[in-house]
C-alpha cells in the first residue's frame, strides 16, 4: 500500500488540518433531480466551501440509506441516470476545482468490472471510492485495483466495531476513515449521537489516518460540534433535501449554496 495516490483526498485533509479546522465532505447523488441538475449542484458544493464532494451512484437497493437519499436514487434511476454519468460528475467536480470521491454500492462496481471501474474513475479525475457494503475482508480485488490506479479507498467503521475490526478496517483504508457516527441508516437527526466521539477516539487509537464522521448532520451547529474532534464532517441527506423542495431548480441550488456555506462556517468554527 505504498503506491502514490494522485489527486488523493489525504492531502486535502492534511491541508485542512494545517488550517486548524475540519474538512467539509458533501454528498449528492448523480442524476437527482436530473443528471445535468446534479452536476450543477455538485459545482455549487465546491464553490460554497465543500472540501470533498461525495458523488453518490444511484442504486436500486440502497440498504444503508434512509428515505431522503433512497427517494433521490429512485428518482435518478427513473430519470435514466446511468453508471456512466458518475464519471461525468467526477470530471465536473474536478473541473470546478474540487475533489470527488465516489460512494457506491458494490454490485455496480462488480458489474462494470472492478478494474474497468477503477480505470474510468482515475481517468475522470475521481479520487477513489467509499464502499458502504464492501468490507475489506471481501475487498481484495478492489484493494489491488486501487493500488494499481492510485485511488483512495474509504471503508466504514461503526460504533459496533470491535478493536480488532477497527484495526483491520483502518489498515485497509487510504485517504481517510469513514466513521458512521450512529448505528443506522442515513438521514438528518435532531442531535448527533454521542457514539460519534467515542468511535472517533477508538479509531484514532489504531490509525494515523484522518477520521471523518457521517450520518445525521444537518446544521452548521452540528457540523461545528463534530468538527471539534473529527478531521472531516460528512453531510448527505440534509443537502439532498434542499434539492427536493418545490419551485425552480435555480432557487433550490441557492438553498443548497446557503446550507453549504453554513456548514462550511460550522467546520471552521468547531475548534474556535
Amino acid at each position: 500500500m505504498s503506491s502514490t495516490v494522485v489527486n488523493g483526498v489525504g492531502e486535502i485533509l492534511q491541508r485542512c488540518r494545517e488550517e486548524g479546522r475540519a474538512a467539509l465532505v458533501g454528498y449528492l447523488p448523480v442524476g437527482f433531480p436530473t443528471v445535468e441538475g446534479s452536476l450543477q449542484a455538485m459545482r455549487v458544493l465546491v464553490e460554497a466551501g465543500c472540501d470533498i464532494v461525495e458523488v453518490g451512484v444511484p442504486y436500486s437497493d440502497p440498504l444503508m440509506d434512509g428515505p431522503v437519499i433512497q427517494h433521490a436514487a429512485s428518482t435518478a434511476l427513473a430519470g435514466g441516470a446511468r453508471v456512466d454519468d458518475v464519471f461525468r460528475a467526477t470530471q465536473a467536480v474536478r473541473d470546478a476545482g474540487g475533489s470527488a470521491l465516489v460512494m457506491t454500492y458494490w454490485n455496480l462496481v462488480l458489474r462494470r468490472g472492478v478494474e474497468r471501474f477503477a480505470a474510468d474513475l482515475a481517468a475522470s479525475g475521481g479520487s477513489g471510492l467509499i464502499t458502504p457494503d464492501l468490507i475489506p475482508d471481501e475487498g481484495g480485488e478492489w484493494i489491488a485495483a486501487s493500488d494499481a490506479h492510485g485511488l483512495d479507498r474509504v471503508f466504514l467503521v461503526a460504533p459496533s466495531s470491535t478493536p480488532e475490526r477497527l484495526s483491520a478496517v483502518t489498515s485497509a483504508c487510504r485517504g481517510f476513515v469513514y466513521a458512521a457516527s450512529t448505528m443506522g441508516v442515513t438521514g438528518a437527526r435532531a442531535s448527533v449521537d454521542s457514539d460519534a466521539r467515542g468511535l472517533v477516539e477508538r479509531t484514532r487509537a489504531v490509525t494515523d489516518l484522518p477520521v471523518c464522521v457521517g450520518l445525521g448532520v444537518s446544521t452548521g451547529a452540528q457540523a461545528a460540534e463534530l468538527a471539534a474532534y473529527a478531521d472531516g464532517v460528512i453531510v448527505g441527506s440534509a443537502l439532498v433535501r434542499t434539492l427536493t423542495g418545490p419551485g425552480e431548480l435555480a432557487d433550490r441550488l441557492e438553498a443548497l449554496r446557503a446550507l453549504t456555506n453554513e456548514l462550511a462556517d460550522g467546520v471552521r468554527g468547531g475548534r474556535g
Partner: protein, 405 residues
Amino acid sequence: MRDLTPHELPRPGRFGEFGGRYVPEALVPALDQLDEARQKAAVDPEFQAELARLHATYTGRPSIITEVPRFAAHCGGARVILKREDLNHTGSHKINNVLGQALLTKRMGKTRVIAETGAGQHGVATATAAALLGLECTVYMGKVDTERQALNVARMRILGAEVVAVEHGSATLKDAINEALRDWVTNVQNTHYLIGTVTGPHPFPEMVRDFHKIIGEEARAQVLDLTGRLPDAVIACVGGGSNAMGIFHRFIEDGGVRLIGIEAGGEGIESGRHAARFASASPGVLHGAMSYVMQDEDGQTVESHSISAGLDYPSVGPEHSFLRDSGRAEYRYATDDTVMEAFSLLSRTEGIIPAIESAHALVGAMEVGRELGPDALLLVNLSGRGDKDMETAARYFGLLHGGTA
C-alpha cells in the same frame, strides 16, 4: 494479539466464488456473534435436545412421506413420493429454521426478532416462534404481498407480531429484505434478523441449510425404508432455496441421485416477467451475498415476477449457484400456468392442496417423470400447504364468480 492485515482476513462462508459477506461494517460483529453461537449450538447436546423436543412436540416431526399414485399417472407413470413438510405446524418447512434461530436469539441475549416475508409462510413461522419463546417480533412485507397474502398478515398480527408494509421499489420480498436490513443496522444490539432462507451474508446460508437438513435426513431414510432404494431424482422448488437445500443436502454425496430445483418461470422467460434466475441472471451481489442476480447492464436489480409471492425474488441462495455451476444440481423453471395446472391436479387426484411454491416442484415431477419413464422413483418436497394461496387460486380459476378449477 497481532492485528490481521486485510489480506489475511478470512473469507468465511464461501461456496466456490459464491456467498461471502457484503454488508455494512456495522453488522459484522453481529454476524460474528451469530456464527459463534450457531457453531457452539451445533455441538451442544442441550441445544440439540431442546430443538429436537420442540420438533417432536410442537413442529410435528418427523413429517411423513406420502406416495401419490393417482398424481403419478400424470408423471409418465413414475413412482412419486411426497415429503410432507406441509403438515408441519404453521403449514410449511419454514418452522424448522425459525425455531432454531429463535433459540439462538435467546442464547445471544437478544429480545427482539425481525423477519421479512413474501408469501407470509416465513413471517407466520417467525411470529409463531416469537410468541412461543417470548420474543418481540416485527415482520417486513412488501405492500403488494400484504395484499395478495392478507390472511397471513392477519395470522401474524393475531400472533402478536407487528407487520410493516413496505412501499418502496417493487413493494415485494426484495424490498422487504432491504427494509429489514435497515432495521437490523439500526437495532442490532437487541435484535436478531431471522432470515428465512438460504441467502444473506455468512453464516445465514449455511445456518439456515443446517436447520433444514432434517428434511433430507428424514426423507432419505423414509424412502429407503419404503422402497428399498434411493430415488432417481429429488425435486424441490427454489425461491431463495431453503426447502430445496434442506432436502438436497443429505443426497449430495449420493452421486446417482439427481437434484433438481424448479424456479418460477412466471409468464415465461421471453416476457421478462419471471424469477428464473438461472435462466437469465448473472453473478452479482444482492442482500449480502454473491450469487446469481437478475440485473441490468449497470448492475441495478431487475424486478422479478411470479404468481407465487414466495418465489418472487431476483436472487437465489449462494449454495444453489455453486451446485448449479459445479453441475451437481440442475435447475429448470415452471411457468405460472403450468404451476396452477399442477396445483389443481394434485388437489383433485390426491386430496392434497399444495402451496403454489410447492406446485412448481410438482411441474418438475411431471416433466422428469415423463423423461425417465415408469421405472423412475421421484422424491418431491411438498414444502407447504395451499391454505394461504386460496385467494390467489380462487382468482386464477375464477372461482369467486362461480367457475371451477
